[in-house]
Assembly symmetry: D2
Homo-oligomer: 281 residues x 4
């Protein structure tokens, strides 16, 4: 089957928004050709943003990681993470107390940046939780699932508090064939135990799109018709872009594969405006 | 039990956002005292918006309805409906074809305003659906449930198209004791039949908050800390306001009652910043 | 693609259990050749049962309907309906009061047979419900969806009572291409409104299999290995048979089609022991 | 509040079925007085069964455990576990290959008893899974959640096979205040990842009730009216007993507490025939 060229479509837009994992990089590192695509975007003087549901690292760390992988030239203000949205929420809504979290030390940086004190769920004393004022699911790594998932269930049974999910992805690819459960999957287990629904950040929710959009319209005359969102996942990138009202492109270089994208579109009813093989072709 | 006064809390904010049904009006008409509360808001020179998940009538019709009920003085730009969000989506994403809809003639106005042709599901010929390009759930009234719900299921089985839910409320009160299933409930039945999830507009999704916010910041120096969202429903008004990052107030004059609000907050984990009896006390 | 012959497989079993709709009959009437298949079963001296999730008619009416369609020779004790299971439940658990029901007059027969008084939801006076002791969803026909679905929601909000779903099918085919929402779909809408789960009868639940099995082992030395369950629906017939521990055969003459059965088996994880085109080949 | 006496109600029945955890024993050991209640049941010549969703130990081990806790006198044929149901399923449906499992070595005994070979998920080589013919969730202990839950997700993505859940409990109490996620919770996480529903054994499904019932009617003239099912959990014990058609008693000595049982009955719609404080009063 033949697909239209990413470049031909991208030319029609002023702003290109890219998901990170499965679009620009994958478990092997940078997807081959990503540097040329970024050069094309710069050359054509398109505006550019990366929108990632990755709350395990700060925007600066994510930019640094791209440099390390061989893709310099992404500016800090172009990197938008779901962790930033969680941070904003904490800033607006929580004024005191400690924030309990599941995740790595790195991911807890978002809490620090919000000017709040953090404590790993592993370090919480369940008999002394008066000063815990909120709970955040930041990353699927950095804790013992057997012990700490049960502990967070009991923490949230003992005290009613805002619970924030900084990444609603269910899973991510770790090799060509294998996946790993992501933060959204762990949080869903806890939601099921408690019969509650936490506050979800990250695509498909609108906050990251809105954040990017507000930034963009400050400098340039942009409207939603000028924006193309490119992603590899129907449930997050494409649904989120569709809901926000921008044009969407599904690429087949990540979660969604050439041999099943049509049946997935049919079964989910989530319809991208364009389908391309990758952002390199 | 004693509750803080709405007026004392409202004084601390520059912008008051109110849900409509259960806050300002109910099945009996205007809630007694609403005129005085609006006068207070004007007098204190607060900015004011109504955010309603009601897509059955255009903003103008909703303003007119308030005049009829005895509450003049709401400006058109202060009335934000989930139907407007659905309209914007259609404008951005659908460029041709007819939009099939479930709802009253009145509600179909949103499709017309988007510059698109509409057709009631009742009038669709299932053997001739090539020109149907999207489907919208606008209202729970205006069609025969036995016939047209089955018809929309079959339409969506035959052709994959964007499906939009303009009001995600499950139900609304029709008397002190009784409720009626709202558009969101009807849509959920169809979603279950098809195993799909439609594109939902209206609270708790962020679009209406974002729309109001973008309007507000054009004229005044406002940030999210200046905004109070007031509603009677945890799942829509309070969750939506919390996610958007503004302060939230639950009032006990509608869906949520004095005798069960505490257990509902505990069981849902949706925590308002304030609880008041109504916007009149 | 080639499929094994139903006859070759059936020969290996002592008991043949058939689903009705989509296997023996369909929207056009008897599936061509059903009479020969029944003759084969009789000739080979297999035991035979029909297990149907149809609670709209009594077993006798269902046998009579088969005669009318041109398939005489089904005995009353061979016809097992989900309505019979609901009737048994009512007999065991409800000793007084009236049973409110959604369905046709015909379907209400099951309540009468349980020795209980029945009242159509349409005839219930919501201000006088002290004597209503249970509620049954019997059929998707026989009532006004706009009015009576809302009425049953309010009935069940006002009084906590056992609610029984006599047919958990979500939909049934009404022509080659079209489906209609079945009782299970209507009940799910009400379950969603109330946040409750009713008591479900019919496949995939075990009661009908158990009822048939207990009958069979009274007369003959039968064990589960001797039984073949044949159906056209993975979620009910095949899952139910698998859970009960008998061998299962999917036929492609009804809900599940030749062009998608493999992807459905993969996506649901419900795996039949055999797949045949129909019970006629 | 005053409750009727367990003894007065029990006298009206020929068969007493008890859930184990939360009714006869708890995290502290035997619930005080359980020995006298068993003596009463023996003295009154009632028939007696324990129905437990515990698949972590064989029936013999469970009987031995009761002896250790100070309750001798339970016969092996009186102990019915959800693991036994899973074992029967494997015997009927799986004829070759290895059964992958999550759980302790002890729990894997059920696979051995079914005459099948077992392999812990931890020992599965994902590149060599041709001989894995089914997968069983037996216990929440005995494996590394971080590693093995991800591994089972990938196993089931690579090969479509029957997946059996031997205990559908979501959680169990580990102290007066704290709970731990049970096998059913772990399985639900994996079900969510895969978008599939496994084959569930244990209450509320009917198999254990049916198994007990078939045993009982062989020796004595018993019908369902003669049976009382006693449990501490609405979703499993009471719903299961109600669906099976026997009388049900909720006791407040385990999962469901005196201060919230009424609201739980109301919110779930699962209505026991009797409510008692415990089986000792």
């Amino acid at each position: 089957m033949s697909y239209p060229s990413f470049f031909d479509i991208a030319k029609q837009f002023k702003v290109i928004m890219l998901d990170s994992y499965g679009v620009v990089k994958n478990h092997n590192g940078l997807i081959k050709g990503a540097d040329k695509t970024l050069a094309f975007i710069r050359n054509e003087q398109k505006l550019f943003r990366i929108l990632t549901n990755d709350a395990s690292r700060s925007p600066q760390q994510q930019v640094d990681k791209y440099v390390e992988l061989g893709l310099p030239g992404i500016h800090l203000h172009e990197m938008i993470t779901s962790g930033m949205m969680a941070k904003h929420f904490l800033e607006q809504k929580i004024t005191s107390g400690k924030i309990a979290y599941l995740g790595t030390e790195n991911s807890a940086d978002y809490i620090l940046q919000a000017g709040l004190e953090h404590i790993a769920v592993a370090d919480v004393d369940l008999n002394n939780i008066d000063d815990i004022s909120a709970c955040v699911f930041l990353d699927d790594e950095g804790f013992d699932w057997n012990i700490d998932i049960n502990k967070v269930v009991n923490l949230l049974r003992k005290k009613n508090m805002p619970v924030i999910l900084a990444n609603s992805d269910y899973y991510y690819p770790v090799s060509h064939n294998d996946i790993a459960i992501a933060t959204g999957g762990v949080a869903k287990l806890v939601e099921n135990m408690l019969g509650k629904k936490f506050i979800h950040f990250g695509k498909p929710d609108s906050q990251m799109f809105m954040y990017a959009y507000e930034q963009l319209i400050q400098d340039e005359y942009i409207n939603k018709n000028d924006i193309l969102m490119v992603g590899d996942t129907l449930r997050t990138d494409i649904l989120g872009g569709n809901k926000f009202g921008v044009k969407t492109m599904l690429v087949l270089s990540g979660n969604t594969r050439e041999d099943n994208y049509e049946s997935q579109i049919r079964s989910t009813g989530i319809i991208p405006d364009f389908v391309c093989k990758s952002i390199m072709e």
